[in-house]
Symmetry: C2
Subunit: 218 residues, 2 copies
Amino acid sequence: MSIANHFPIWDKLTESQQARIAELADFRKVPAGKVLHDGGPNCLGLVLVRSGQLRAYMLSEEGREVTISRFFEMDICLFSASCVMPDLQADVMITAEKDSEVWVIPACLFQNLMGESIALCNYTRELTMGHFSELMWLMEQIMWKSFDKRLAAFLLEEAAVEGQDVLSLTHEKIANHMGTAREVVTRMLRYFQSEGMVKLTRGTVELTDKKRLQILGM
Amino acid sequence: MSIANHFPIWDKLTESQQARIAELADFRKVPAGKVLHDGGPNCLGLVLVRSGQLRAYMLSEEGREVTISRFFEMDICLFSASCVMPDLQADVMITAEKDSEVWVIPACLFQNLMGESIALCNYTRELTMGHFSELMWLMEQIMWKSFDKRLAAFLLEEAAVEGQDVLSLTHEKIANHMGTAREVVTRMLRYFQSEGMVKLTRGTVELTDKKRLQILGM
């Protein structure tokens, strides 16, 4: 259960840097559904995922959500460290989607290490660029793709993440991922069902024609 | 006209690094309206602005545009270096909005320098985080703010950038900044005019009640 096996580019850090991380990183268990970081000015630190699954999302004043990123084993989440991401005006919330184990690395330690280690700095820079690319992709989807395409792509991605075609997802949850209202999701899912692409039961969506969903989602 | 006076953190680079930049940076004049980088896989390099104004925007398959960033004197534009921004699937176009003078720094040189200079790496990392924050803000606007608010905020920003209240902007151009259709812009501007907030003539928009636009744009 050592952080050494989960921290990216561990081998490129000096022994002293490794020792500081090992000493100051705070191991936590986060049950599914728990909010780990609620945006705002407080700076939790960086979160390194040991197991489980986290979700980062934006929240509108009216309470609407849209997922901007998800984090799996060995991913580092920067959004929980608002002090490392200056000028971040938007509030990013982070919750555990599954029972998770994480290390929280103090932001000031990470900030200091980036000033010492060119490997860590470049790793973090590439990570940020990756998030930027994801966000651009998401923006393209939202601005220019119709909702049926987005929903088809989302369902297929969920099936890939979960490794199964029966998804335990309420319409409310899907709406929160996609930044839309529950009614919009329900209407489109019913249309998908009438076309034979999904089968709906209470609390689940089963993908029954992935090929057609794929064509639609392209 | 030395690059030394325009390159950020120049003083934190070694003499050898400075010499390589000075030798390999390519000075160019770019007339207003010219496309500097047309997205796609080709990698122009990083663009450092000496004077003028550049615009980076995304382009949909249907030809709709949305501005994602603007660059003024001493800004470095990373979007023209797709090889430095891996996974960037979206096509980012860059044009000169005004007659501009720029240096183009080869991407491979910049990439090498970031592996050598922790100062340059951290500078670029913070630049990327800044762009990320901007994009989050833009996404919030697009998803959750109504178009009248966005248009009011855009007109006020333009007036601040130009230093004057009479803006030489066609409705087409505004639409391209905001990722919408020309008709939508025209309709809203006419509404603004009927409310006394702007005055429209052929090719210009004059802001006649900035206070109300400010309240609306908040």
